[in-house]
Symmetry: C2
Subunit: 339 residues, 2 copies
């Protein structure tokens, strides 16, 4: 039951069938004004009979808003960001907004293209999850449309940045290791261009300093947040023969790679080497052994980003909750043994 032929039913057809004017139908659809009950019912029946759904594009054109928000992510298939995307989707859905996901693939130019695409689609705002675009360009975009962005410290009337205290979390992760008696602790850092990664590294440094432990630069390797780089980094670290007994890895994915490298060398976790990761991906609960890590509530982060965007769009204030980061102790870390 879908009207004639194949063309989607239009508001006008509904109006005709219900014997009212198009505006009345529109009013009922949007609750823009009171309408006599008899007409309302007629319209509602017509809508049901014809299985009518308003054309969102037409609505968008008419009211100048697309009911969609762009989401720029680096890699739509990254386990961490996916959780966040889910949060965004859920948040937006309840307000009738649809997310438009685009991937920047860690390339600045690609991100600019994405922005352009989103602008062409007239999204009502854009959420940038850890972008590579520089702050200045971002602020320019913010002049045209609401922006919420993570891992950046930007402010303005049309911008909200969502931040977690990565430095503190890096500090606490390292402290966890120190409290277990470890004194030679290596670190696998994330990409230098990544602010979160830098802050985690800073936290690591501060923890060592505050506990009177030396910071040995040879014990700091750099990865790209993917598993393979964690594996490489451990091999490189091992080659220094510096006899570290614990490892703080800047994200769980690299920790998986690190763990495999250790497995290959016959170094046991946690008996011979303690590992703490960062993110608490869903699968970190199922590694062998389950990974001690810093929980970053990705889903909540997405939800918060979505809510913040909705707040921006509707001109309502929305108090951004702070993102709580928390060390989750599982089985990949233990008290240092031996000398």
């Amino acid at each position: 039951m879908d009207g004639r032929g194949n063309a989607p039913v239009t508001l006008e057809e509904v109006a005709r069938r219900a014997g009212v004017s198009p505006s009345t139908v529109s009013r009922i659809l949007n609750g823009t004004a009171r309408v006599r009950d008899s007409k309302r019912q007629a319209v509602e029946r017509a809508i049901a009979d014809l299985n009518y759904r308003p054309n969102v594009m037409a609505q968008g054109l008419a009211r100048g808003s697309s009911m969609s928000v762009g989401v720029i992510t680096q890699d739509i298939a990254s386990p961490f960001f996916n959780e966040a995307l889910k949060g965004i989707e859920d948040s937006l859905a309840k307000a009738g907004y649809a997310p438009l996901f685009v991937s920047g693939h860690w390339k600045k130019e690609k991100e600019v293209e994405c922005m352009s695409l989103l602008v062409a689609r007239r999204v009502d705002g854009v959420i940038v999850l850890t972008g590579m675009i520089d702050d200045a360009s971002l602020m320019e975009y913010a002049a045209r449309l609401p922006l919420v962005i993570t891992g950046r410290n930007l402010h303005g009337p049309n911008v909200v940045s969502i931040q977690a205290n990565n430095e503190q979390a890096g500090y606490e992760a390292t402290c966890h290791l120190i409290e277990l008696g470890h004194t030679r602790i290596a670190h696998i850092a994330g990409p230098e261009a990544n602010v979160d990664a830098q802050q985690r590294l800073e936290g690591y440094r501060r923890a060592l300093r505050e506990h009177g432990l030396p910071v040995d630069e040879r014990l700091i390797a750099t990865g790209d947040f993917h598993e393979s780089s964690g594996l490489l980094a451990v091999n490189q670290l091992l080659e220094t023969r510096l006899n570290f007994t614990a490892l703080f890895v800047a994200n769980d994915q690299m920790a998986y790679g690190a763990r495999l490298a250790l497995y290959r060398k016959g170094i046991r976790v946690p008996e011979d080497m303690s590992i703490i990761g960062f993110d608490d991906l869903p699968s970190s609960l199922y590694t062998t052994p389950p990974l001690t890590t810093v929980r970053q509530p990705a889903y909540d982060l997405g939800k918060i980003a979505g809510d913040a965007m909705l707040g921006l769009i509707h001109g309502q204030d929305y108090a951004i909750p702070t993102i709580p980061l928390q060390v989750i102790v599982r089985e990949s870390t233990m008290r240092r043994r031996g000398p």
Copy 2:
């Protein structure tokens, strides 16, 4: 440099600035007709000066196509489907189409809602990744818009189904174990409502039969494709005290859970128990030990789905490549030892 104030630049402004009519600009934009070079240049300059981007919604309204395709997935954060989404995104992007992702959360009614939402947005087609909707409803939708769907065997002028031979792959996975000398092989199956899962189970059964091995129903547990259910299933299987030495798990996520359950019991992999999974998630390369599994090329699958959709939309024939499934032998399986 963006025209006056904050409102996006329109085609009309471009036309005015270039001293031509709107239609001319449109023609240049779409290559619909030849235009004198001088005008073309003027228009191109105006576009650049004003930083103009056509309003996709307006284009959509005018030409009756939204340049977007809906993608119904069960869980936008599932590691397997994400890879596929990436493939879809890449495929669609090159034709200027944008994917609109919606999650059905394994609920039939939710999926119907999603469909409705997509219809409202006038998507030019929809890709259903392993949906729960029944075939009949699906065929009804197909009457209105192009449909490509995985894990289903539907046919029609407006539908293409993309299938992999899960039965055969399940068969081969089990054979791999048999060839290693295992005779008591347990299976952790996926949800009964899932066609792929059922076929993998069928393949398992056939392999045992063809090798003259008994099929013991007590050695078949059922999970829900998530890690936790794999863990539970192994515990349950172990309680039978049936002394199986190998395990074929219907997807990698459950295999991770299974592997942890084994770790907890002190059962070594692969020395005491061989495990083969299914999917070959990116992280399966990094489990300890790296997981032997059946590779399902999720990214390619997405790409194929996207290409098929493009074919449908443009009315071109597109030969659907068969999805190759392949056993990837890594380190979680080994020759059976002992008696």
